[in-house]
């Protein structure tokens, strides 16, 4: 009876909680709403006074223009840059995940003397403001012929991805019991055999977390893309979108369509794999 009474007493509070959450969600979705209604409006319908209103007809013209560009206006489309981002992000993600997995394996299961010093020194690399390495970075990339190339950007993302991928894998492997490895050591298995036969097959969830994290941060990177590439045809999509949005003659609905194109890959990953996205997020701040 008392339980029932107290449950009934909580109800008004629960209603308020829902109200706040719904209003909060609407506010959080506001920018996306504006992006969609602006992007889907036809050019004729774009009027500043009705910018918040729903389009009367759905038009894909803005998306087509953002993707293909417009020769008449001398505006480059985002298609080539989208593909650049794909060609940069996919190999860089795979490489840095693999490197992080090897590092994490050694730092958690084959700890060498000095590992306690090396690990925090590695980690510090993910917190530095990259401004403090940009000047020599450009010089070195120019000297080794990687400046202004996709290969150069892949290389940069792999190098500066080492700290975070190592951290996530090290914490991931730390909870795998050592006994599992000891048994195969006694059977005469070497370090590489143990990795290939035991650790790697257990690493799939770790790889998913690391790859989502790396894919998202490399796709969303702006600074390295801006500094390492110079030719517009080789720029990643974030840099191209910023240029597109910065030119005054590009209509708002094309900018919004372009922003949606740039955000789509990471948004889709988030929508379908949000659980793993969360683990990566928390791994970056809460050490295991």
């Amino acid at each position: 009876m008392t339980a029932l009474a107290s449950r009934r007493a909580i109800r008004p509070g629960t209603v308020i909680v829902y109200c706040i959450l719904v209003i909060g969600s609407l506010l959080f979705l506001g920018p996306i709403y504006l992006q969609l209604v602006t992007g889907f409006k036809s050019f004729r319908e774009v009027s500043l006074a009705t910018m918040w209103r729903f389009p009367r007809t759905l038009s894909l013209a803005s998306f087509a223009k953002a993707w293909l560009g417009s020769e008449a206006q001398g505006m480059n489309g985002l298609a080539a840059n989208f593909m650049n981002s794909v060609y940069i992000t996919v190999p860089a993600t795979l490489l840095s995940a693999f490197l992080g997995s090897l590092n994490g394996y050694v730092l958690s299961k084959w700890r060498f003397r000095g590992a306690n010093v090396v690990f925090p020194l590695l980690l510090f690399g993910m917190f530095i403001p990259y401004q403090s390495i940009l000047i020599p970075l450009v010089q070195v990339l120019e000297n080794i012929g990687l400046y202004g190339t996709r290969g150069g950007l892949i290389f940069v993302h792999v190098v500066y991805g080492i700290p975070i991928t190592t951290l996530i894998f090290r914490n991931y492997y730390a909870v795998i019991p050592d006994e599992l490895l000891e048994a195969s050591k006694i059977d005469g298995a070497g370090i590489l055999t143990i990795y290939a036969n035991i650790l790697f097959p257990l690493s799939i969830p770790g790889f998913v977390v690391v790859m989502i994290w790396q894919f998202t941060s490399i796709w969303n990177d702006f600074l390295f893309g801006l500094i390492v590439t110079s030719s517009p045809s080789l720029q990643p999509i974030t840099v191209a979108l910023n240029n597109l949005a910065g030119s005054y003659f590009v209509e708002w609905n094309v900018q919004m369509a372009g922003a949606l194109i740039a955000a789509l890959p990471t948004l889709l990953i988030y929508i379908f794999l949000s659980r793993y996205f969360m683990s990566g997020l928390l791994a970056g701040s809460v050490k295991g």
Binding site: F28, N116, V159, F222
Partner: protein
């Protein structure tokens, strides 16, 4: 036994490339930047004439430009407002979601999705939303909504407003401050740049889901028995939060302050895509100034000095955090 030494050697070989890359590309490069900041390298051709701390002194002077002093003011404005708003909003949302309500997953994902988007996209979106409009276009974005709702008095210039709130030297309080020897506080460099509020709103939209996720994880880690015990002792819900739960999640607040704090010191992408340096450097930040002066102005030594100062402040925040969290691990 031979196998063990061989395995040791292989384990070194596996991590050696990463260690060498980080040694060169992080520590070596920082060293080079530090060296460059002490030289006269102010054009495309490197000039390594030693000038001591000249490049640093110039940053803190008001002539030929007071840009760096404006940047410091803007960074403080941004950091304080951004930390407060993301922590308050994140904690508030986490407390609401912690009540095991229906549809929790949907709400959580809604508040977190901006994290998946690049700062450039966020900046482009919010520049459109906060565009104040002009006499030709009429009110735009949020200003338009305010107007429609009859809240026209809330309309303002957002990121185009150059107003700096500070204590004027010739105001009554300014005179009082200089009387007691604190006249230095009455300065436009010790103030609040209102245009930064627009950047804070965009950044909070993007990052408060992150603090929410951290707090939610922490709240879920508190055993239900503790709340039950407090409830049995007659504590109200508010008291339970104040006396039991908030003290327990204090370490999360510290982590959030450090992680978001170092992000806000480094903020660059959002400023580029939303506002640029703004009117009278009202939204300029050190990371932007560094890029601008180095890669557009070719003043490499000046850019290097800004970068080193930025690194120094970030290191002050991060190193104690890294040391304490790795030490905690060793003890555990």
């Amino acid at each position: 036994m031979r196998g063990v030494t061989r395995d040791r050697a292989i384990s070194f070989a596996l991590v050696a490339p990463s260690i060498i890359l980080i040694a060169v590309f992080v520590y070596g490069f920082i060293g080079f930047t530090g060296f460059a900041s002490l030289t006269k390298w102010d054009s495309l051709t490197p000039n390594f004439t030693f000038v001591g701390l000249h490049n640093y002194q110039r940053l803190f002077a008001t002539v030929p430009t007071d840009r760096f002093l404006c940047d410091l003011r803007n960074t403080v404005t941004f950091t304080v407002l951004f930390l407060v708003s993301s922590i308050v909003l994140g904690l508030g949302l986490a407390i609401l979601l912690d009540r095991h309500i229906k549809g929790e997953g949907i709400f959580r994902n809604l508040f977190l999705f901006p994290m998946a988007i690049s700062y450039i996209v966020t900046g482009v979106l919010w520049r459109w939303i906060l565009s104040p409009g002009s006499s030709q276009t009429g009110a735009l974005g949020l200003n338009l909504i305010f107007e429609k709702l009859g809240l026209g008095f809330l309309k303002w210039g957002w990121f185009t407003d150059p107003t700096i709130l500070y204590i004027h030297r010739d105001s009554g309080f300014g005179a009082f401050l200089s009387h007691i020897g604190l006249g230095g506080l009455a300065s436009p460099y010790i103030g609040v740049s209102l245009a930064m509020i627009s950047v804070v709103i965009a950044a909070t939209w993007q990052m408060s889901g992150y603090t929410m996720a951290m707090y939610l994880a922490a709240l879920r880690g508190i055993p239900t028995e503790m709340r039950e015990a407090a409830r049995v002792d007659g504590a109200s819900e508010v008291q339970i939060y104040r006396r039991v739960i908030l003290p327990m999640i204090r370490p999360v607040t510290l982590s959030a302050l450090i992680v978001l704090g170092h992000i806000s010191l480094k903020i660059f992408d959002l400023v580029v895509s939303m506002t640029g340096p703004g009117p009278a450097f009202a939204t300029d930040v050190p990371a932007f100034y560094m890029w601008d002066t180095t890669f557009r102005g070719n003043n490499f030594a000046q850019g290097a000095a800004i970068a080193i100062l930025l690194l120094f402040v970030v290191a002050l925040l991060i190193i104690p955090y890294l040391v304490s969290s790795t030490r905690r691990e060793v003890h555990a």
